[in-house]
């Protein structure tokens, strides 16, 4: 009995963290102005509600057993839909400019799993369901429930894989679009996806299916929910602080420009002049579309131009300018005998934070080594 309460308390931690994140995100929806932002926010709300449902199911599993049996369909459907909604968020964030709708067929699989459990809830009497969940006997009902559960886990792994693929494709595109290393890396998203697969799915599977994986470990199972709490927090934080760059779709105008070819040809000198004079790279959110607008040219042309003329992508090109700016400011500070913190210099040079500066610097170093 005591152990049950302890387990329930441990499982209620993710519920609380999901609830806190849910509140934070919904506070933020009033502020979001464009459609993509709003879409992301609504999806996040859906994900966190599902997570709350799922984890409160785990709490009921330990404390209120009768309720859990009745709750079973909700529990399973939330478990099945979480990866799909997470994938949907990934889909929106890593959109490569086509603004494709999220295909509805992704919802079919979890819906099927939900239907199976609903059918069981209707067909099988209560007592039998109880024994199927809490006793270790093998019968048809328990077999179906177990296989549904495994189906959910497979779904989770499958969608994580899909998300990773999308992130990879996105990363290839984004280097020619934005120069904000920190925000475009999407490390947090891949981290969450991987974390979910490794640390969350397996222990829960063990617990529900009664594998007895954690009975021998004593209190160790208490820590299995911490990763879940952590992922909730990281996800919420990254969305709130907008740690992502969404590729803008190619506008009709731009397409026409490309097709008709009536844009001014650029010269190397002109681009350098523009960068030296206007210093647009001091803005941490400087994008290739801004550059295209200022030079009255178009995005594809500029990116091809930079690639051809300088042999680097847009991201590296701009960050090299920023690194130069850091050096210049540093020299200036030394000359004036001022003690300026490095951070301030880095921020003045257009890096969004210290980490992106560090990465840019490392990239350059690696480059220099490989050339030698």
């Amino acid at each position: 009995m005591n152990q049950d309460i302890g387990r329930a308390i441990v499982f209620s931690m993710p519920v609380v963290s999901a609830a806190v994140s849910l509140i934070l995100i919904s506070l933020d929806t009033t502020r979001s102005s464009n459609t993509v932002d709003r879409k992301i926010h609504y999806n996040m709300i859906a994900v966190y509600s599902l997570m709350m449902l799922f984890w409160s199911g785990m709490v009921m599993h330990s404390v209120a057993r009768d309720t859990f049996i009745a709750y079973l369909p909700v529990f399973f459907s939330s478990f099945g839909f979480i990866p799909v909604f997470l994938y949907r968020i990934t889909h929106i964030i890593t959109d490569t400019g086509e603004r494709k709708r999220f295909p509805a067929c992704h919802f079919i699989l979890p819906a099927c799993l939900t239907l199976i459990i609903c059918a069981i809830a209707l067909a099988v009497p209560f007592r039998q369901r109880w024994t199927a969940i809490y006793d270790n006997d093998v019968n048809l009902t328990s077999a179906i429930i177990d296989s549904t559960f495994i189906g959910c886990i497979v779904l989770c792994i499958l969608y994580s894989w899909l998300s990773l693929l999308r992130i990879k494709a996105y990363k290839r595109r984004i280097t020619d679009y934005s120069a904000d290393i920190y925000r475009m890396s999407l490390d947090w998203l891949s981290f969450i996806v991987l974390f979910r697969v490794v640390l969350q799915t397996l222990p829960i599977a063990g617990l529900i299916l009664g594998v007895g994986l954690f009975d021998g470990l004593g209190f160790a199972w208490a820590f299995t929910t911490l990763p879940a709490v952590f992922t909730h927090i990281v996800l919420c934080l990254s969305i709130l602080s907008e740690n992502y760059v969404i590729l803008e779709p190619v506008s009709v105008k731009e397409k026409e420009m490309t097709a008709s070819g009536n844009y001014p040809q650029l010269a190397r000198q002109q681009v350098e002049q523009y960068l030296e004079d206007r210093k647009p790279y001091l803005n941490p959110e400087f994008k290739i579309t801004d550059m295209a607008r200022d030079l009255a040219s178009n995005r594809t042309y500029i990116s091809a131009f930079i690639n051809r003329e300088y042999g680097v992508n847009f991201n590296r090109f701009i960050n090299n300018y920023r690194l130069k700016e850091v050096e210049r400011l540093h020299a200036e500070a030394v000359q004036r005998k001022q003690k300026t913190p490095v951070l301030e210099i880095v921020l003045h040079a257009g890096f969004s934070n210290y980490r992106s500066y560090f990465r840019a610097k490392n990239m350059e170093k690696n480059d220099a080594v490989s050339i030698d």
Binding site: V20, V63, A64, E344
Partner: protein
């Protein structure tokens, strides 16, 4: 069912603890993503504040669970959290209401509660050496007993810090009004959002509710209310810290060339849309100039808030302006521009062979439904354009 009841009563205490720990992790993770040193300091303080609240509630929980209420080892952090939560809150408000002058938070605030409370405790222990309840206790136990039972002592810092926090807030709002004239829009929007006051009221409420059981009888509902207040306060604080809804420190102008950028630092990305004449009252001319030159209506998702932001006023002012000057709502007004654009585009020879649907998209309409509705509205208003309905036929 018995298990569930025990679980529920435990959760009343565990919920705020969980919530504080989660909020503090939020703040901790944010520390690495700062834009200036002051922000880092603020986040650190917020994180410590949340942890202290967690400690406070954890020790309350411990007291509830254990049968011996006189002295527990947990009482030392318990007492410390009582002493320092108000100081930390004062610190947070100090950083949030910071305007201009670069001065660090005085360390003295953290130092005085310790000797002061020690002196009071020793004096109290000296004066009443042999009460009925505390006979036969070790000095440490006696001190904690005094500290826990003497509720005035417990709340001494809370009471002491209400006045300075109040003063900080009032000074902040006064200064924000003065600065409004020359400051950017952000300070304006911050001034209008009074979340700091809500935060402060919640702070007072928390201490009042914590104080009440010592005077009146203790009640479970009071505990629940207190937990709720704490959760609300923390979530509010965390949200605004994440979203940077405060006036950030102006980084000193070390680099005159880069000076302009430093202001850009704390601001939201949409700023760059703003034209130079962002400040000052709206004029019809400036407004129409903006529309005809930038053509923001070509974006199907262009909204009233975007417009207001670009013109440097708030939503209500913008909406009232359009209503009064043009006698229609924003959407209709925008659609008029789009229809005009559509007609110009259609008249253009290069577009002659094009599908009207594509021209419509180019003019900024989201889809044909929107387009037709706009046309119908205009027709009902003026009964003038007669060529548009053909589009409908062509499409279908």
């Amino acid at each position: 069912m018995g298990t569930f009841v025990t679980y529920g009563s435990l959760m009343v205490y565990i919920l705020p603890i969980c919530c504080s720990v989660i909020c503090s992790v939020f703040a901790l993770l944010l520390i690495w993503n700062y834009r200036n040193p002051a922000e880092r300091k603020l986040r650190r303080v917020v994180s410590i504040y949340c942890i202290l609240i967690a400690v406070w509630w954890a020790s309350v929980l411990w007291h509830v669970l254990s049968d011996n209420p006189v002295f527990l080892p947990v009482d030392i952090p318990f007492a410390l959290s009582y002493l320092y939560i108000p100081v930390l809150f004062y610190n947070i408000v100090y950083y949030l209401t910071y305007l201009g002058n670069k001065r660090n938070f005085p360390v003295l605030n953290y130092l005085w509660p310790l000797p002061a409370s020690a002196v009071i405790l020793t004096a109290a222990a000296w004066i009443l050496p042999h009460g009925d309840g505390i006979a036969g206790l070790s000095p440490a136990e006696r001190y904690t007993y005094l500290f826990i039972s003497g509720f005035l002592l417990r709340f001494v810092t809370a009471i002491a810090y209400i006045v300075p926090t109040c003063r900080l807030l009032s000074r902040y709002y006064k200064q924000a009004v003065v600065q409004k004239v020359d400051a950017d829009r952000k300070s304006f929007s911050i001034r209008s959002s009074h979340w700091l006051v809500v935060l402060f009221v919640l702070f007072i409420a928390i201490w009042l509710i914590a104080f009440l059981p010592s005077v009146v009888c203790s009640d479970r509902w009071l505990v629940r209310l207190n937990a709720l207040c704490i959760i609300v306060q923390e979530i509010l604080l965390t949200y605004h810290v994440i979203r940077r809804q405060y006036l950030s420190y102006k980084t000193s102008d070390l680099f005159p060339a880069a000076g302009k950028k430093s202001e850009n630092n704390g601001l939201i990305d949409k700023q760059r849309l703003a034209p130079d004449h962002a400040h000052g009252p709206l004029s019809r001319k400036a407004f129409e100039n903006y529309l005809s030159q930038k053509k923001p209506y070509l974006d199907p998702d262009f909204k009233l808030t975007d417009m207001a932001e670009a013109m440097g006023v708030n939503r209500t002012v913008m909406s009232n302006f359009i209503n009064q000057t043009y006698g229609m709502n924003f959407r209709r007004y925008l659609n008029q521009w789009r229809i005009e654009e559509y007609q110009i585009l259609m008249a253009h020879p290069s577009n002659e062979r094009k599908n009207p649907y594509r021209v419509m998209v180019m003019a900024g309409f989201k889809d044909s439904r929107h387009f037709q509705r706009a046309i119908r509205l205009e027709k009902a208003a003026k009964e003038q354009p007669d060529e548009e309905p053909q589009v409908k036929n062509k499409e279908e």
